[in-house]
Every structure is written in structure tokens, then in C-alpha cells.
């Protein structure tokens, strides 16, 4: 069905690019562009055991993508330093999450991974002071809507996004990895206790290696960011590769850690899909060890039906008919996992009412 998924094929097996025509190269790059994986594709092709000749039309596109990320990394490190400086007077060390953490930790995947916002976590008890301090340094909240503020503050694991008034960068300020009302909830105390200094930037903390991976897994399988599903799964591939290269027993530690902080289900799903989509080896034992976290067969089938189309990427050449439905369902599922029904229904009603009103306003 997806023989045109050149991108996915090359990410799994870069040698496949050896028989690409000029048209194929163009298509692969466009598929990668919609998935935010152009630089990742470039790096993957470079890693191929058999050398691949990159056509002259593709070369500048690849180098431009890598240059863009190199620049982003420089500015992100600088921005993270500013956050650390802002919080220094109150004795809070910011814990960087996701993309910013990969950059500050010097992970190879940071050199080819796209991201926009900076994600930071601080203890919930210090949230008020942190917000005041950040505001003093120019990070202001992006919403004055009372309902939005309450929604985030009562139920979520983050406050509404903050924007730097001088530089326009967006900061997501977390106090936990998962929403307070979520179905899969990471043990916040244990997560905070395991943080450590970042490898490549002084004055900031990152999650433990295991927790970084588990956070990426819960992000992919609980938050339902459908358009970025392939990129998010590829993050897991790259994270796993880097950590395994450092220590051979990483997967074993990962399983043990998931059981301690309570994220077995997302880890099970991550392992399950990494094996099936990216054909990663050496994960059979982990999948068996996590068997208790495996959903019932109908639910697992449903997860396949949902994620299979999304993990193909969003480019029209690989978008299946089920894509839109899967995206919708995943959106609802993300909410369903995030909060109990008695909170969820009024929230969704309110959101659709607002969307309808906005649409009618743009029309008139």
C-alpha cells in the first residue's frame, strides 16, 4: 500500500536510496519536509553502510536544513542560559525537556531534529515564584482568557505558554510530565529525584536518560499530536540508538524504570511500534517483560488502526484514507487520557463552540 513511502524506507534502510530516480529524490525530500525530517534524512543517508551519491539538486536542500538546525541550537542554548540566569536568584535550576534537553545534553539527534518551543520543568511548589521571576525577564503569558488559564492550572501539567517579548521565543513551563488528571501518570517525585546536570550546558538540569525516553514515549502515545507522529517515533529510534551505544543494558533499565514511575503502557506501545515500523532488533525481551502492560487485543488492534496511518507521515503521497479519521480519534483519545469524562465533555463542548464562533466571524 505504501510503496511510495520513500522517506520511511530510507530511514529504516538508507541503502534504498541507491535506486532513487531524480523524481524519487524530489518526492523523498518533500515527504521529509512535511514530516520535519529533512535533516534527519540527510544524516541517515550519510550513515548508510554503502555510500550513497546525493544528487546536486538535493545537496543544497540538505545542507540548508542542517544549517537551519545548527542555528536553532545555538539560539536555544543561549535562551536556556537566559532562563537559568533568570531563575538563579530564587535558587531554582530549570529542568529542560524534549528538544531543548537533547541540545543541552549534546545528543547527536539534536543536530538534525526540528522543534519550535522550549520545554522546561520546575517543582510545582515553586511555580508562582518562577512565573514572577520569568515575567521580570520578559516572558509573558500568551493568553488572558480566564477559562484557558483555569484549564491549564487546574488540570494540566503545564501553565499556558509564555512568550519572550523581545525575542518571540515560546516557553512551555511544566511542573510534571503528565497532566494531573491523566490516565497514565508519571510519578513526579521520582522523576524530579532522578534529574541530573545537562551534558553540554552548565546551570540546567535534564531528566535521567530513561526518563527522557519515557517522556518521549508518553508524548507520542498519550498526547495525540497526530501530524508529528512519525517525527516523534523517529525521536525514539534515535534516542534509543544513542543511549544503547553508551550502555548495552539501557533497554533493561528502561523497563525497570517504567515500572517504577508508572509508564509501562506507553513504553510497551513504544517498543511495540518501534519493532513493527522501524524493525528495530533487540527489543523482543522488553516487549515480553512489559506483557502486563499490553492492552487487550481489541484495544491493541484499535491502536494499530489509529497509529499505522499516522506513522506513515502526512504527505499526500502516503496519506491513507483513514488518516483524517485516525487524527480525529487520536485527538479525542488524547483528551480522554488527559482528563475524566465529567471534566472532558464540558471542555470539548466549550472548545467546539469557540471554534464555530471563530469560523462564522472570519466568514462575515
Amino acid at each position: 500500500m505504501f510503496e511510495h513511502n520513500l522517506l520511511l524506507k530510507a530511514l529504516i534502510e538508507p541503502e534504498a536510496a541507491r535506486c532513487w530516480s531524480a523524481a524519487d529524490w524530489g518526492l523523498a525530500i518533500r515527504q521529509a519536509r512535511t514530516a520535519n525530517l529533512v535533516a534527519a534524512l540527510a544524516v541517515r543517508l550519510q550513515e548508510s553502510p554503502i555510500s550513497i551519491e546525493i544528487p546536486s539538486l538535493a545537496q543544497p536542500i540538505f545542507s540548508a536544513a542542517r544549517q537551519t538546525i545548527a542555528h536553532r541550537n545555538e539560539t536555544v542554548l543561549w535562551e536556556c542560559r537566559q532562563i537559568a540566569l533568570a531563575l538563579e536568584p530564587i535558587g531554582v535550576m530549570p529542568i529542560l525537556l524534549k528538544g531543548a534537553a537533547y541540545v543541552a545534553d549534546g545528543l547527536p539527534l539534536a543536530h538534525h531534529r526540528h522543534f519550535g518551543d522550549i520545554d522546561v520543568m520546575v517543582p510545582r511548589a515553586r511555580l508562582g515564584e518562577v512565573e514572577t521571576q520569568l515575567m521580570t525577564y520578559g516572558w509573558l503569558t500568551t493568553t488572558s482568557d480566564a477559562y484557558d488559564q483555569r484549564y491549564y492550572r487546574q488540570w494540566m501539567h503545564e501553565v499556558p505558554p509564555l512568550r519572550q517579548i523581545h525575542r518571540g521565543t515560546t516557553l512551555d513551563l511544566h511542573h510534571a510530565l503528565t497532566p494531573l488528571t491523566a490516565r497514565y501518570r508519571a510519578d513526579t517525585t521520582a522523576v524530579f529525584a532522578a534529574t541530573r546536570p545537562a551534558g553540554a550546558l552548565a546551570g540546567v538540569l535534564v531528566l535521567s536518560d530513561e526518563d527522557q525516553f519515557l517522556h518521549a514515549a508518553v508524548h507520542l502515545f498519550a498526547e495525540g499530536e497526530a501530524d508529528a507522529a512519525l517525527r516523534n517515533l523517529y525521536d525514539l529510534v534515535e534516542l534509543l540508538k544513542s543511549r544503547q551505544a553508551e550502555s548495552a543494558d539501557f533497554v533493561t533499565r528502561l523497563v525497570a524504570r517504567a515500572q517504577i514511575i508508572g509508564l509501562e503502557r506507553p513504553l510497551f506501545l513504544a517498543v511495540h511500534f518501534l519493532r513493527r515500523v522501524f524493525q528495530l532488533e533487540g527489543l523482543e525481551k522488553a516487549e515480553r517483560d512489559l506483557a502486563d502492560a499490553c492492552p487487550s487485543l481489541p484495544v491493541l488492534r484499535a491502536m494499530h488502526a489509529l497509529y499505522a496511518p499516522l506513522l506513515q507521515g502526512i504527505h499526500p503521497s502516503v496519506r491513507s484514507r483513514g488518516f483524517a479519521l485516525a487524527k480525529q480519534t487520536l485527538y479525542l483519545r488524547g483528551h480522554w487520557l488527559r482528563m475524566p469524562l465529567r471534566l472532558l465533555l464540558p471542555h470539548l463542548l466549550r472548545k467546539s463552540w469557540r471554534a464555530l464562533r471563530q469560523e462564522s466571524e472570519t466568514v462575515s
Binding site: 531524480a22 524530489g26 518533500r30 519536509r33 537551519t68 499526500p316 469560523e359 466568514v363
Partner: protein, 311 residues
């Protein structure tokens, strides 16, 4: 190489069929676009503005895949709109059907400005005499496109009317020849001065007012792959009623002014800044106020002559 097929060579039916089926693949060097559309309003403007562009039959390396289609959603029932898809994404708000051609033009520019980070990109018109380039950086509304149109129609080779693409390694400007976008009064002014100019039908009530696009001259199309060396850097400003006033500009000042228009300078970092500085170093720099196109055409001819004598 066999004879190149151009859009002008296609019959209206063939063009329509291509647009509706597998897409019209055309080269606007250095990029290749594929366009699919089932909006009749597009055809006349497309033929007028892109008639000279090369059509690619073979499966080609396509940089940007665009599709124009009627907008979905509630709106279509009471106000038919069209929207533009870029590799399946919809980065633009839908517009009335009549504005399909300007929408396509803006989308093509957007494709390039958001992804072609291999170039240092400046908001600027670029024209050339031989391989020597004249760069006219200016913010929108300063009469840059009108000036570019007038120069192109009086013999200069157009590289672009709004996007200078500097290859930072080679230090040369890459042509990206496209129809010149004229707004409001400029349309009549250029039409009056140059009766031979070929325009797309004017589209009214766009966000930029009335818009029409001018077909690039054959001379510009012939040179659409020939890079040019930066030679003159002029910051123009149209002021109604003033006479031609050209003031030499110090290079540091010119570099700062140019940097303001170089919107991806931060992304390219140090090598980008070095390329920009080199480019300014190679140029005679001026700031210009002008009030009449005739004076401007003569004035620029004089700059070229003066440089030839001076060298």
C-alpha cells in the same frame, strides 16, 4: 538536448487537462514546481505570465508541489473560496476564486522564502547588464517593483523583482525570474510607458489592492540560469515630484541597510554575514530618490556608463 517545450506551446485543452490530472511541471530556475488546479480563473493569467516557462515532461525532481482547489468547510455554500495546498499542507487562508493567480504567486514566493536557506535572501529587486547585477533593496511600497518593471522593459535582464538570492559560497546572485507583481497605480503607469508590456488581468480588492503581473521579457527568460556578480547596490525611494537624486552611500552604512532586508541573515550566521559584507564590498553603493520613470531609466543607464568609464 532536444528542443525545450514551453507553456506557450501547449493548447488550452492540454494545459487544462494537465492541471486537472497529473499536474503541470514547470521550471522556474533554480526551482521546479508542480501545479494542479481545477479553477478555470487561473488559466488566462497562467498563460500570459508563464508562457515562456519550460515544461518538464520527464519525471523530474520537484521542489514544490502546489494544488489549488475549492475550499471545503461550511463557507463553500455561501461564498465559494479557493485554497492552496503545499505538499498537502494549507499554510494560507482561503481567498475568493478571482484571486487565484495572486494567491499562487504569493504561495510560490512563500515556498522559496521558507525553505531555500541555502541562499542569503534579501527583500530586493535584482537586474543585470551582462553579468553585472544591480541590487535594489527596499521595503514593500517603496516603488521597487515598478522600478524593476521599467528597467526590465528598457533592456535590463530581470533576476527577480523581490527576492535576491545570494549564493554565499560563490558570492553570486542566482536568478529566480518570475512575473513582476505590480500594484494599483503602477499598473497604469507601466502600461502607459510600455505599450508592449504583457499583463495578467488586474485583480481587484486583494490585501494589496489591485494587482496585475507582468510577463518577464524574453531577454530575462533567456538568461534565467545565468548568475550575476553584485556590482551596484542602490536603495531607491519613490517620492512624487522630486527629481533624480543619487547620493553615494558609505559601505558600512550600505551593509547595515542591506542587512535589514536580509531576512534569513541570522539563520546563516557568520558565513552569511561574511557573504553580505563581501557583496557590499564589491558594489558601488547609493541611496536614491526619484520621481519619474524616464529619469530613472536614464539615470541607471548613466550609472552603468560611469562604471564602465571608471574601471
Amino acid at each position: 538536448m532536444s528542443e525545450r517545450k514551453r507553456l506557450d506551446d501547449l493548447s488550452l485543452e492540454t494545459l487544462q487537462q494537465l492541471l486537472a490530472s497529473c499536474g503541470l511541471v514547470f521550471s522556474a530556475p533554480p526551482f521546479v514546481f508542480r501545479l494542479r488546479a481545477q479553477v478555470g480563473e487561473l488559466l488566462p493569467a497562467l498563460r500570459l505570465a508563464y508562457g515562456g516557462y519550460e515544461i518538464l515532461d520527464e519525471p523530474a525532481f520537484i521542489h514544490f508541489d502546489l494544488r489549488v482547489k475549492p475550499a471545503t468547510g461550511l463557507r463553500r455554500w455561501f461564498k465559494p473560496l479557493i485554497e492552496l495546498e503545499f505538499d498537502g499542507a494549507r499554510p494560507f487562508a482561503p481567498l475568493p476564486r478571482g484571486q487565484v493567480f495572486p494567491l499562487l504567486e504569493w504561495a510560490m514566493n512563500w515556498c522559496v522564502t521558507t525553505s531555500a536557506q541555502q541562499y542569503l535572501m534579501c527583500h530586493s529587486a535584482v537586474l543585470a547588464q551582462g553579468e553585472q547585477a544591480l541590487i535594489l533593496p527596499a521595503p514593500p511600497g517603496s516603488g521597487k517593483s515598478t522600478l524593476a518593471a521599467a528597467l526590465m522593459l528598457s533592456g535590463w535582464r530581470l533576476l527577480s523583482d523581490e527576492l535576491a538570492l545570494l549564493d554565499p559560497h560563490a558570492g553570486r546572485l542566482e536568478p529566480f525570474v518570475r512575473p513582476v507583481s505590480l500594484k494599483n497605480a503602477s499598473i497604469g503607469i507601466i502600461g502607459g510607458h510600455f505599450p508592449e508590456a504583457i499583463f495578467t488581468p488586474a485583480v481587484q480588492d486583494t490585501v494589496k489592492g489591485t494587482v496585475a503581473h507582468l510577463r518577464p521579457t524574453a531577454h530575462s527568460m533567456m538568461g534565467n540560469r545565468e548568475k550575476a556578480v553584485p556590482r551596484w547596490l542602490v536603495f531607491p525611494r519613490f517620492v512624487a515630484g522630486v527629481s533624480w537624486s543619487l547620493v553615494p552611500l558609505g559601505r558600512p552604512e550600505a551593509a547595515i541597510e542591506l542587512a535589514k532586508n536580509a531576512f534569513n541573515l541570522p539563520v546563516l550566521g557568520r558565513p552569511g554575514f561574511a557573504a553580505l559584507a563581501d557583496m557590499v564590498g564589491q558594489c558601488d553603493c547609493y541611496s536614491l530618490e526619484y520621481g519619474s520613470l524616464d529619469e530613472a531609466i536614464a539615470g541607471f543607464a548613466e550609472i552603468v556608463e560611469g562604471s564602465e568609464r571608471g574601471v
